[in-house]
Amino acid sequence: MTVFAPNTATRKAPDKAMRRTVSIWTVLNYAILIAVAVIYISPFLMQISSSFKSDAESTSNALGLPQSWTVLAYKTLFVNSNFPLWIVNSFVVTIFVTAGRVFFNSLAGYALARLHFTGRQTVYAILIGIMAVPGVVLLIPKFLVIRQLGIYNSYTGMILPLLVDAAGVFIMKNFFESIPVAVEEAARIDGAGVFRTFWSVVLPMARPALVTIIILSFQGSWNELSHFIVSTNDPNLVTLTKGVAQLASGQLSAGNQFPIKLAAAGLMTIPVAVMFFIFQRQIMNASGGAVKE
């Protein structure tokens, strides 16, 4: 109780003295935040509005609303290009990678958190070491390995290397460590084997962490580009990222075709945006503590 009194006392004094300054600061605070928010949101608004313009208008009137609305860009995208195929490929890869990561990351995370096996420390050290390797360094080498294994130009080649990620293993490991051992001990006393304990008892309790993995995996594999560049060159295996990147460098024909490119970029953002808005709270709490992108 005595803890409260000084606080309320101190809270009153600065308030009275700084009342006028506080309100100026508050106004400034809001002004800056709103200005920055405008800067952060308006590009996307301009993207949507310009995707409904004609080619010529997108260069002559870049800032305003379309003078004549047209869905030509979207039509071209769905009729004259492989955009629908790209969508399918992206979904196939993303779904398999997300499912795989949920399964394998939780297995490995549980093993590192709770199971005693020889070499556990080594495996842990290896994982940390792997996280230190910058992704970009692996571009050429991964191409070489994928080629050598004969999985180039296949869904396997696109999905398999992405099935596990070290950061996800850490997230699961940290979460499993926070589950009380008593739960597992109880299950073991009841005669459950290791896998049974994991699958039926511990895993259901890990729902929040699993949701985090699902979100991060979905985002990561949907937005992945460099891996798809090196693992395929077959136009039937192009994903949204690779396809839109090709569009940006002018595949359909020479010239600035902004409406089509903006429409494609906007459409490819919708699934991640939807995921984001639904799971906002979870994402922002997870990213506050997680380390990787």
Partner: protein
């Protein structure tokens, strides 16, 4: 976690041992196959003269020692000059992006963290959303915004400024400044570090690179803002109020109280930022492919281009390893400068500290989230 019975423990741990390995096996297999083995193969290719046809492990592929590394590092010829240019470009990119994005994300976090701020969730969402999108989508958007007659130049014209043709402009910003002050571009400057002239080193990032710098700040400040927000919320209000009682001004409170307590998070943000900026590839591949005039060429893109387009696989692999080395060096440098002992510990220490502070906070005040 201590089992005291002898026999049950041994059999229990044996079962755990086997299960442990089974559980971890897929992860080890996939990561080993697609992360560890590739590095070994690329190391071999970087020391060989493989030309891209057939397998690099076939007989007949010659060992050339450090030739590929020397060709890139000695600044001779186009290979050397390209590498030097890419290092200069990425160096300025990192130099500008890391401080700016750290400052902006810290600033945003501070403003959003204000008690009694209405619409906190809205602002957090608005600032974080760009980080969720794909770099390809944002690059396409950027190409549109920063086109010669695009939105950015339209807005600049409201202030009477005639914006440059951003992604086509290869002049360095310091070069523009020097030219404006009357220093002319020298005609034939001698080559210096890594095969490019001192003038090119001084010229700074090009206007096109600056557009990419803005993009980097736009897309990553949200992520780092969340890291800072978490840290700020863990610090809590008491320290701040204590300082307020002592008569410190808002700026003094920020500088001498808040920032030092943010040191672990600051270190994380700076490290992640540095590692990220030296790997920039997607944006270059989608947007400018190194142009205009190779001023947006980065070592990562150069490595890819040398291998996949020019079929110089040995050179591409060598550049990739040099880049790996650069990233490690910069990370270590930062550790030394900021005086942290272990990069993985701060997050644990940070979390412990946060937990301690938050328990204190819970006990001490009645404030809600």
């Amino acid at each position: 976690m201590s089992d005291h019975g002898q026999r049950p423990r041994r059999s229990g741990i044996n079962r755990q041992g086997v299960a442990g390995w089974i559980f971890v096996a897929p992860t080890i297999l996939i990561l080993g196959l697609f992360m560890f083995v590739p590095v070994l193969m690329a190391a071999w290719v970087s020391l060989s003269n493989w030309n891209g046809h057939g397998s690099p492990l076939e007989t007949g592929v010659g060992y050339v020692g450090g030739n590929n590394y020397v060709a890139v590092l000695n600044g001779q010829g186009i290979a050397g000059r390209d590498f030097g240019t890419s290092i200069r470009n990425n160096f300025y990119y990192a130099l500008l992006v890391v401080p700016i994005q750290t400052a902006i994300s810290l600033g945003l976090a501070t403003f959003v963290n204000r008690r009694a701020l209405k619409g906190k969730a809205f602002f957090r969402t608005a600032f974080y959303f760009p980080s969720v999108t794909s770099s390809v989508a944002i690059t396409v958007l950027w190409l549109f915004l920063f086109a010669g007659t695009g939105s950015v130049n339209s807005v600049l014209s409201w202030f009477g400024v005639h914006g440059p043709n951003w992604f086509q402009d290869s002049r360095g910003i310091f070069q523009i400044l020097l030219n404006a002050l009357g220093v002319q571009t020298p005609a034939n400057p001698p080559a210096s570090l890594f095969g490019i002239s001192w003038w090119e080193w001084v010229a700074g990032p090009s206007v096109a690179m600056c557009a990419f710098i803005f993009m980097a700040v736009f897309t990553t400040s949200g992520t780092f803002m969340l890291l800072f927000l978490a840290a700020l919320q863990a610090i809590g209000e008491e320290t701040d109020e204590a300082a307020m009682i002592d008569g410190a001004s808002a700026w003094q409170r920020f500088r001498y109280v808040t920032v030092p307590m943010l040191r672990p998070t600051l270190f994380t943000v700076l490290t992640l930022g540095t590692i990220g900026t030296w790997q920039v590839f997607d944006q270059i591949y989608t947007g400018t492919k190194g142009g205009p005039s190779k001023t947006t060429l980065t070592p990562a893109y150069l490595s890819y281009d040398a291998a996949f387009t020019s079929q110089a696989w040995g050179r591409g692999s060598a550049i990739a390893f040099i880049l790996f080395f650069i990233i490690i060096v910069f990370t270590l440098l930062q550790r030394m400068i900021l005086g942290q002992a272990d990069p993985t510990l701060p997050s644990r220490r940070d979390r412990l500290a946060q937990r301690r502070l938050s328990t204190l906070a819970r006990r001490g005040t009645t404030k809600g989230a």
